[in-house]
Each structure stands twice: as structure tokens, then as C-alpha cells.
């Protein structure tokens, strides 16, 4: 008896002929429980209701539909399938699908159409065997315990050293999750020295970049791209490196190359849009953002920023006589979607209105005024911080729309929140040369630096005093507030109420208003869970 007879199967394909043909093959093989779905959305829904052991997923489910790779990503990210389940990607042509696959979510196997019953039976039997062999590792992955993954890998390699190559990827991912950077670098180096594996290159590049070794990361990506010129994720890493080096034009070229290889990638398109905006290449920006919006409609990476970016690119492209009807229509559609889909996000409501007002400035001043007024009203009552980038665009547009005062207030606010970041200050300097704005954060930033120095000497009492003084000057500054909170938590027992703990919580409540896209957000979350004694 074959081992997969009692298992639950799901076939996902848009062709009913194919579904019934595979279903009858499975029946002939003795499988009893077979469900089918004709779209990715339906497959996701079914997986949320029933735990399938085998999913046979067609890669191409029709134009404008979620493809098999997107379904796999959604299933993994939303934890709708166990690592123990078998996911087989069925394709007409496999190499194309493999190029489009993201390195972080690879299917367990590819099966090329056409296949016969013996081929299907053979694949299923083998995949089942492999999953059984790796069971302890896969169960640890499901539990989200990287340490247990590592131990399970060690146990498997001890049991049979010949299977150690199968564990490499699991070991690397676990070390990455455990932040064991030195061990991870050694592992990547040894893998690459033995066999060039694309994921090992990508992982090493990412690790080096994360640790600020930008030059070395660049060297790795250059080497990797020579061996794997078809791997889009390597281009993404290279683009990160070039951005860090300030070469935004070079980064744009690299991303364009990646998109030529693999155009179906929402995040990549959005990033290209952003880079092209920086490079003032508005045509490319509009095109990339347009793709990000339309592909994003079916994807988990749907992001209102792409809609706003598209509108911004189209406005920037416009001539002095204003925008043509078609462009205005596109801007209207893309911004209406933002307003409609994010009713409870005041930042997006404000930004969508100001963006639309800017687009109407030359052609319909009356509506522009009305929208600006609405935006100002909401801006007044808004507590949350916008990202520096969003806030600066809002400031610029307010000025354009004749609201100089509100624009200046926005800039001042931005200095208070982000003033310790020289990059943000440089962007602010592009909009104003008013020294009372540009220098308003200097004293607090200096105190913050001083506080860090004192904190490092271990003098907690003095460090807290310095941070406190800085924070009194700039109560919304994220860096200072986080430093304050950290110095207060240091050596404080969070299980008993104390003045320190109270002060710390107040601090964190304020920075809690920062956008969750901020690079410091994870640090905030860590401090918060510590302060709450979790």
C-alpha cells in the first residue's frame, strides 16, 4: 500500500479538463480525498478551512489572476499550510516558473505537463518519503523554533551524513533567525566554496549588507551575477548596495534588468518607481508604479504607497499647462482607491487629498482648495507620525497649494521627530533655508549623542538625565525617546511598579505613534514588550 492514500489532496487549475484528469489519476492510485479549486483565491480559502497534505498547483492560472507562486507565498506567509505539506508546482514550462519563483518560498517540486500516472505516483511517493525523512526539522519549522531546527538538522546528519546537503538551507535560515551572524557567514562561505548555490549567494550578500559591509556585499553580488545572471533576487540585493553607495541611477538600471527577467513582482516594481522618482525619470516611475498597483490588486503586497507614487509621478511628468484628461482620470482612480480602502488611516486620507489637490491646481482651483481644506482639518487632529518622506512631500504640496504656514509647521514637526537623521535634514534643507527650522533640532541631537556616550560608560543616572533634557526639547523625537526608554529599562525590575517604569511607558506611548515602516519599529516593539513585562 502506498503511503499517501489516506492523505488530503487539493488540485488547483483553471482548466476543468486538467482537474478531472488529475483527479481520476489520483483515484486510480487509491487516493480518496481529492478537492479542487479553479483560482488562487479559492485555493487560499479552502486551505484556511482544511489542512491539505498535498497541493498540486498550476503555475499559470490565467492573465490578471494570482499565479501559483503568489498562491504559495500567501499560503506560507499566512501559515495556511504546514511545512510538512507537499506543494507541487505544475507548469507547462518549468524553467520560466523557476526564474519567477522567489528564493524564500520554493515549491517542494515542479511537475511539467504533460505527465502520466506513473510519473505522478513516483513524484508523490518520493516527496512523501522526503517529508518523512525531514519530519523533525519540518515540525520545528512549524513551531517557529530555529534552535530546534538546528538540533533536528544535527540529529539527521548524525543518522546519515550523506543527507547533510539537504539540511544546508534549513541550517542557514535557522542561524539567520537566531542572529548568529558569524556562524552564518562561515556556513555560507563553506557552501559557496564547495558548490555555488544561488540562495547561499543571496543570503551572504544580505548578511554582509545588514552588517554594513557594503563593499563586500557588492563583491558577492558581482560574483553571484556572473554565475547566475538569471536570478532576479540577486539584482535586488545589488540594487540595495548601489542605493547605499548613493548610486541611484545604477540601482535603477539593475532593478530594470531584474524586472525584464521577472516582471511579476509587486515590491520590485514599487521600489523601481521610487528609485526612478529620485532620479527624476518620471516616465519609468509612472510605468513601474502602475504595474505595482495593478499587480498588487491580487497580491498580499498591495500598498497604498504605490497608488500615491503613481499619482505623484504623473503629476511630476505633467506640463506647465496642467494635465490632460486621461492623466487626470488615472490620478483620480488611483487616489480614490487609497481613500476608499483606508478609511481609518488619517495619514493616507490627508496625503491622497493633497495629492489630488496638487493635480488639480492648474485646471480646477476651486476643487483643489476644497480638498486642501479637508486635508488641513484632518491634519489638525492627527496624532500619528507620518514617515519623513511622506511628511516632506505633504509640506511641499501644502506650500504649493498656498498653505505656507501649514507647510512650515509640517517641516518643524518633521525636524522634531526625525531631526537627528542627517539624511532627513538634508531633504528638509531642500525646502527651506530658515535657520530657525534647520537648527531647531541641533541642541537636542547633541544632547542625545552625549547621552549615548554616557550610557556606554555605564553611568545610568547621568545618561537618563541627559536623555530627559533632550526629550524635553524635542518630545516627539523617536531616537531620543527610544534611548530614554532603553536607559530607563536598563537595570529596572519590570515586575514591580516604579517611577522609572512609568516614565518609560509614557515615552514609549509617544514613539508608538511612529509609522510601522520605520527602521526603528522593531526596536520599539522589543522595548515595549520588555516594559510591559512580556
Amino acid at each position: 500500500m502506498l503511503s499517501y492514500h489516506q492523505k488530503r489532496f487539493l488540485i488547483v487549475d483553471d482548466f476543468s479538463d486538467f482537474r478531472s484528469s488529475v483527479r481520476s489519476m489520483l483515484r486510480e492510485l487509491g487516493v480518496k480525498e481529492v478537492d479542487t479549486a479553479d483560482t488562487g483565491e479559492q485555493a487560499l480559502k479552502m486551505c484556511s478551512q482544511k489542512a491539505y497534505d498535498f497541493i498540486l498547483q498550476d503555475f499559470h492560472l490565467g492573465d490578471g489572476k494570482k499565479n501559483g507562486q503568489q498562491v504559495l507565498e500567501d499560503l506560507m506567509e499566512e501559515k495556511l499550510i504546514s511545512h510538512e505539506s507537499v506543494f507541487v508546482m505544475v507548469t507547462a514550462e518549468t524553467s520560466q516558473a523557476m526564474v519567477l519563483s522567489a528564493l524564500e518560498h520554493e515549491p517542494d517540486a515542479y511537475l511539467t505537463k504533460p505527465f502520466n500516472r506513473s510519473s505522478l505516483a513516483q513524484r508523490l511517493e518520493r516527496l512523501e518519503q522526503r517529508k518523512t525523512l525531514l519530519k523533525p526539522i519540518l515540525q520545528a519549522l512549524d513551531r517557529g523554533k530555529p534552535m530546534e531546527v538546528l538540533n533536528a538538522c544535527i540529529a539527521l546528519c548524525k543518522q546519515d551524513i550523506r543527507y547533510s546537503p539537504l539540511c544546508l538551507r534549513f541550517r542557514a535560515d535557522a542561524l539567520r533567525d537566531l542572529n548568529q551572524n558569524e556562524a552564518l557567514e562561515r556556513l555560507y562561505d563553506s557552501i559557496i566554496a564547495d558548490r555555488p548555490l544561488p540562495w547561499a549567494f543571496a543570503g551572504l550578500g544580505k548578511l554582509l549588507f545588514k552588517r554594513g559591509q557594503v563593499g563586500q556585499a557588492k563583491g558577492i553580488y558581482e560574483k553571484a551575477l556572473k554565475v547566475f545572471p538569471m536570478m532576479p533576487s540577486l539584482y535586488d540585493g545589488m540594487a540595495d548596495v548601489l542605493v547605499a553607495e548613493g548610486d541611484t541611477k545604477g540601482a535603477q538600471r539593475v532593478l530594470e534588468e531584474a524586472i525584464r527577467l521577472s516582471p511579476l513582482a509587486v515590491r520590485r516594481q514599487a521600489l523601481l518607481g521610487k528609485l526612478a522618482m529620485t532620479n527624476e525619470d518620471f516616465d519609468t516611475a509612472a510605468k513601474a508604479y502602475r504595474q505595482a498597483v495593478s499587480q498588487g490588486a491580487q497580491s498580499r503586497f498591495k500598498d497604498a504607497e504605490s497608488n500615491l507614487g503613481l499619482a505623484h509621478a504623473l503629476i511630476s511628468k505633467g506640463s506647465e499647462r496642467g494635465l490632460d484628461t486621461r492623466t487626470r482620470l488615472e490620478i483620480n482612480t488611483t487616489l480614490s482607491a487609497v481613500a476608499k480602502e483606508n478609511p481609518s488611516d488619517p495619514g493616507l486620507q490627508i496625503r491622497a487629498r493633497l495629492m489630488k489637490a496638487t493635480s488639480l491646481l492648474l485646471n480646477d482651483a476651486e476643487t483643489a482648495d476644497k480638498l486642501t481644506e479637508q486635508a488641513l482639518l484632518r491634519l489638525d487632529g492627527m496624532e500619528q507620525f507620518m514617515s519623513a518622506e511622506a511628511a516632506l512631500l505633504v509640506a511641499k504640496q501644502l506650500k504649493l497649494l498656498g498653505q505656507t504656514e501649514a507647510g512650515t509647521a509640517m517641516l518643524k514637526n518633521c525636524v522634531e521627530i526625525y531631526g537627528d537623521d542627517p539624511v532627513v535634514m538634508k531633504d528638509i534643507a531642500k525646502q527651506t533655508d530658515d535657520p530657525s527650522i534647520l537648527n531647531s533640532g541641533n541642541a537636542a541631537a547633541e544632547l542625545n549623542r552625549q547621552g549615548v556616550r554616557v550610557y556606554k560608560t555605564g553611568n545610568l543616572v547621568e545618561a537618563r538625565q541627559v536623555f530627559r533634557k533632550a526629550l524635553a526639547m524635542q518630545p516627539k523625537n523617536i531616537s531620543i525617546a527610544l534611548n530614554m526608554a532603553q536607559s530607563l529599562l536598563h537595570g529596572t525590575d519590570t515586575s514591580v511598579p516604579s517611577a522609572e517604569l512609568e516614565e518609560c511607558r509614557t515615552c514609549l506611548k509617544m514613539v508608538g505613534l511612529m509609522p510601522d515602516t520605520d527602521a526603528r519599529y522593531p526596536r520599539y516593539q522589543k522595548l515595549k514588550s520588555k516594559a510591559l513585562g512580556q
Binding site: S20, V99, N116, S119, Q122, Y163, P165
Partner: protein
């Protein structure tokens, strides 16, 4: 437009046509197997069945190969190497040809060295080479095909052996020419050798590239095709 661009355009036309043909063939094979399932047992065993299965596989193999050659030509061939379990890999290739083996009464077996159960290569590309080799072996084999995997000084060696007449002496003598693509006009075997050679060479390790070799003899006494992967 210069000549070069024209040539590329034409090959793109061929490639997309081949792509369509492959999809069409896939539908045909699928419909055929469904229809077969509805026939009574006796009708399923008809000798024409074997011809159909073989020619389906042969056509499919050639189309895959054509697409592969096109991609090699425009430098689009992505090498995606990874570790694969060899017994699984070979079983999968044999399973594709199972009906043909059955209808022709050919016994297909394989041997994998238990000390090296994993190989490092691009599964799709090496599978297309193996599929063509199996197809070729089926054409010439009398009763048996044997696929074996061994290790030669750290290189993985895939050997396909049959009990047929063997390769013509002239072909063995001039195999380097076929691999270099000098003599491509001598039918599908020559083209197959060229394709196999190119794919083998794409697999490199520390400056050493993969290669192919044909000879006669082996345990079954017929043609022997060897694929060396570093």
C-alpha cells in the same frame, strides 16, 4: 534592420511556435490518456498504443530540446543547480516512459551507488538530456535499458546502456564534432549529442566543466552514453 536582427526574429518565431506545439501536444496526450481510460481493457493493450506512446514522448522530447537550444542560443538558459536525490531523479525519468517500456517489452532498471545518493545539477536540464537518451535507447534496445550512477574521481557519472546494435563506429570516432555542433545535419541523435554536450558544459566546478561520451559495450553490450558532471 540588419541580418543579425532578422535571424533572431526568425528564431523567436520558431521558438514561440514550438512553445505552442508543445502545449498542443500536452493537451493531445492528456485527452488521449483520458480517452484510453474509458476503453475496455483489451483495446487498451493494442500494439498501436505503444507506437503512440513512444512517438508522443519522442515528439515532446524533441520540442523540449528545440526550446532548450533556442534558449542556449539567445543566452537565456538559466542554470538552476541544486542537490537532488539520484534514485528519485532517475525513477522520475523512467516513470515518464513507463507505458513505452511496457508496450515494447523493455525491462528498464537502474543502479545508484549508495555512497553517493545526492547529485548536484540543474534538474530540468539534465532531465531533458536523460529523456532524450532514454528515448534513443528505447529505439535501439531489444529487451533492456540500464541506467547507472557512479562516481569517477569526484565527478558524477550517469550512464545509459542498452542491448541494441550500438552506435555506428563513425559516430563514436567523430563524437567531438557532434558535440561542437560541427556536424548537426545527421538527424536527431547528432542534435541530441550537441544539446547534451552544451548542457553538460554549463555545469562547472572549480574550472572543470561537464562532458559527454559515447561508446559501445557495457554490461548490456549495446550503446553506452555517459554524462560526466563535476
Amino acid at each position: 534592420m540588419n541580418d543579425n536582427e532578422q535571424a533572431l526574429d526568425f528564431s523567436t518565431v520558431i521558438a514561440s511556435t514550438v512553445h505552442d506545439m508543445k502545449n498542443s501536444l500536452a493537451m493531445l496526450m492528456q485527452a488521449h490518456s483520458q480517452w484510453l481510460g474509458q476503453l475496455p481493457e483489451s483495446a487498451r493493450q493494442a500494439p498501436e498504443q505503444g507506437v503512440m506512446d513512444f512517438e508522443f514522448a519522442h515528439l515532446n522530447g524533441m520540442l523540449v530540446q528545440l526550446l532548450g537550444l533556442y534558449k542556449l542560443g539567445v543566452n537565456q538558459m538559466p542554470l538552476q543547480p541544486a542537490y537532488h536525490e539520484l534514485d528519485d531523479f532517475i525513477e522520475a525519468q523512467l516513470a515518464c516512459h513507463q507505458e513505452v517500456f511496457a508496450s515494447r517489452g523493455i525491462m528498464a532498471t537502474y543502479e545508484v551507488d549508495p555512497l553517493s545518493p545526492l547529485g548536484f545539477f540543474d534538474r530540468e536540464l539534465i532531465a531533458s538530456v536523460l529523456a532524450n537518451c532514454i528515448n534513443n535507447a528505447i529505439r535501439f534496445a531489444r529487451h533492456a535499458v540500464l541506467i547507472s550512477v557512479s562516481d569517477d574521481a569526484g565527478q558524477l557519472v550517469l550512464t545509459i546502456n542498452d542491448d541494441g546494435e550500438g552506435y555506428p563506429a563513425q559516430m563514436i570516432e567523430r563524437q567531438a564534432d557532434y558535440v561542437q555542433g560541427i556536424n548537426q545535419s545527421t538527424g536527431s541523435t547528432g542534435l541530441g549529442l550537441y544539446f547534451a554536450g552544451r548542457i553538460a558544459a554549463l555545469h562547472q566546478r572549480n574550472g572543470v566543466g561537464g562532458r559527454t561520451e559515447i561508446s559501445n559495450g557495457g554490461p548490456l553490450g549495446g550503446g553506452v552514453f555517459r554524462l560526466y558532471l563535476p
